[in-house]
């Protein structure tokens, strides 16, 4: 297991998302109201890049004709066939047992801490003043 820096926090402000690559893996990173989520980028259906999808809320219903909307921004809709995935678990909404995107635990650490090591920064240097998104693999 090693800690990998995937992005500077400032690169993915609230309401945005980014595709990152760590050790050959593609991870879609989302910032939903300050909370960070990471799931594997490849849609398990036909391979669309989830990082290119639209984040949406969860639509449910109590009875026909009634729409309930909750958890704004916490689901990603695949850019191709619109399958929804829960950013907290990576599970698809339509068939959560069979289709899921692997979730990754992300944390935010200060450059100061990271400089002390050990960590792996594949594409950029680390500045002690900034904050970084880190995944442990």
């Amino acid at each position: 297991m090693a800690r990998h820096i995937v992005a500077a926090l400032a690169e993915i402000p609230s309401g945005s998302q980014k595709l990152v690559h760590v050790e050959g893996r593609s991870i879609a990173v989302f910032n939903v109201n300050g909370e960070l989520f990471g799931i594997s980028d490849t849609c398990p259906h036909q391979g669309g890049s989830l990082a290119a999808g639209a984040t949406v809320g969860l639509t449910t219903s109590t009875e026909p004709g009634k729409f309930c909307h909750s958890r704004p921004g916490e689901f990603i809709r695949c850019p191709w066939h619109s399958w929804e995935f829960d950013l907290r678990t990576g599970k698809s909404w339509c068939d959560p047992r069979k289709f899921r995107a692997r979730p990754y635990d992300l944390s935010v650490e200060s450059g100061e801490t990271l400089v002390a090591g050990p960590y792996v920064a594949e594409t950029f240097g680390v500045s002690v003043e900034d904050q970084y998104i880190v995944v442990e693999l």
Binding site: H45, V56, T59, T60, S61, E63, P64, G65, K66, F67, C68, H81, S82, W83, E84, W93, C94, D95
Partner: protein, 354 residues
């Protein structure tokens, strides 16, 4: 393949002329039909003289197919050794533009069936024909007859004034489930809309074959308007819909639902599971391939042995001699189609034999 003691889920007594129904009408309507000289309310979606309307060896001269009780008894009941047979009358009341005339004809048909068919053979059961053109009148008719447990189903043509899942029709579903009556949808159209989305075909043959467009779109409407969420006990029986189109329909329905289900969030399970739970099909016609092995595989794709119901579709011409079912229907399924599935589908049949 000959099957004895089966429950035949689709036979068609024929209304010979409007005169046969007049004794079952009130004074107003009796006078109206006579004074106006109106007859011939056979639906155009089942042309009575077309080959499919009657098997050649079951024809009775120029008589309306199915209108002779003795022949129906001989061919359908004795001929196939039926334990029960469900009478589905296709006649003008279900098709009229006028709601009130439709209701009058439907009521007369139901009373005619009761007096001249059910009363004459204990093996016969019937569907309540209703004027779907006005759901309030349809419910009145269901309420009027529900006490007679020989009526086991509510019957409507499959292509109606509007899509069946709309709330407009929900009172009919409410009454039907309350009275343990499945809704039977029979091939046929009120012709309020073109039989295909490309308009009116030149040929009756294409109209008939295109019935599965109506069956498929009505199933989608029932599923996606949430009818089965609202009425979890509701059973829909597709009658004379054909069978082999079903697997492809299910696959496409699931694929589309997985993509755009937030449009109809009350549908929170796969349409395939919903159809398997709520929908039954009479297995006449099956529209089978020539190769029995392929038929067996297609039937297996349906993924449930509970869905098909045995039917002869008498007197319609769907098969010859006693080959009711094509080769390729596995024996275990024939058993279920002939008895278990009809009993599970029709609660009122079940109570009869208990």
């Amino acid at each position: 393949m000959s099957i004895s003691d089966a429950i035949d889920c689709d036979i068609h007594p024929g209304v010979p002329t409007i005169k046969a129904l007049l004794p079952y009408m009130n004074d107003y309507w009796r006078e109206a039909f006579i004074a106006r000289g109106q007859d011939n309310f056979q639906p155009a979606s089942y042309l009575p003289n077309s080959p499919i309307a009657c098997r050649p060896d079951w024809r009775d001269g120029d008589a309306i197919p199915g209108s002779n009780f003795d022949l129906l008894q001989k061919h359908a009941l004795d001929g196939f050794g039926a334990r029960f047979a469900i009478c589905n009358v296709l006649y003008g009341g279900s098709f009229t533009i006028s709601e009130t005339m439709g209701a009058a004809i439907c009521s007369a048909v139901n009373d005619w069936v009761r007096a001249e068919w059910l009363a004459r053979d204990p093996r016969l059961r019937a569907s309540i024909v209703v004027p779907s053109q006005n759901p309030r009148l349809a419910v009145e008719e269901i309420e009027r007859l529900a006490g007679d447990r020989r009526f086991v189903q509510v019957l409507m043509p499959v292509a109606l004034d509007m899509m069946l899942g709309k709330q407009h029709y929900w009172p009919i579903f409410e009454a039907a489930t309350r009275h343990d009556l499945p809704i039977g949808l029979h091939a046929g159209s009120l012709y309020r809309y073109a039989p295909t989305t490309n308009g009116w075909p030149s040929h009756y043959l294409q109209d008939y074959v295109s019935n599965n467009h109506a069956f498929e779109s009505q199933l989608l409407s029932l599923i996606f308007q949430g009818v089965f969420v609202k009425f979890p006990e509701l059973k829909i029986v597709l009658i004379e819909s054909g069978v082999t189109w079903l697997p492809g329909f299910l696959w496409r329905a699931r694929k589309t639902w997985r993509a755009v289900r937030p449009e109809v969030p009350w549908v929170d399970e796969s349409p395939i599971d919903i159809v398997r739970r709520h929908v039954r099909l009479t297995a006449q016609p099956i529209d089978a391939p020539g190769d029995p092995a392929v038929l067996e595989r297609v039937l297996d794709q349906i993924g449930s042995d509970d869905m098909l119901l045995f039917a002869t579709d008498y007197p319609h011409w769907q098969f010859d001699a006693d080959r009711v079912l094509p080769e390729g229907v596995p024996a275990r399924l024939v058993e279920k189609m002939a008895r278990d599935n009809p009993l599970a589908t029709y609660p009122r049949l079940r109570e009869t034999i208990q």
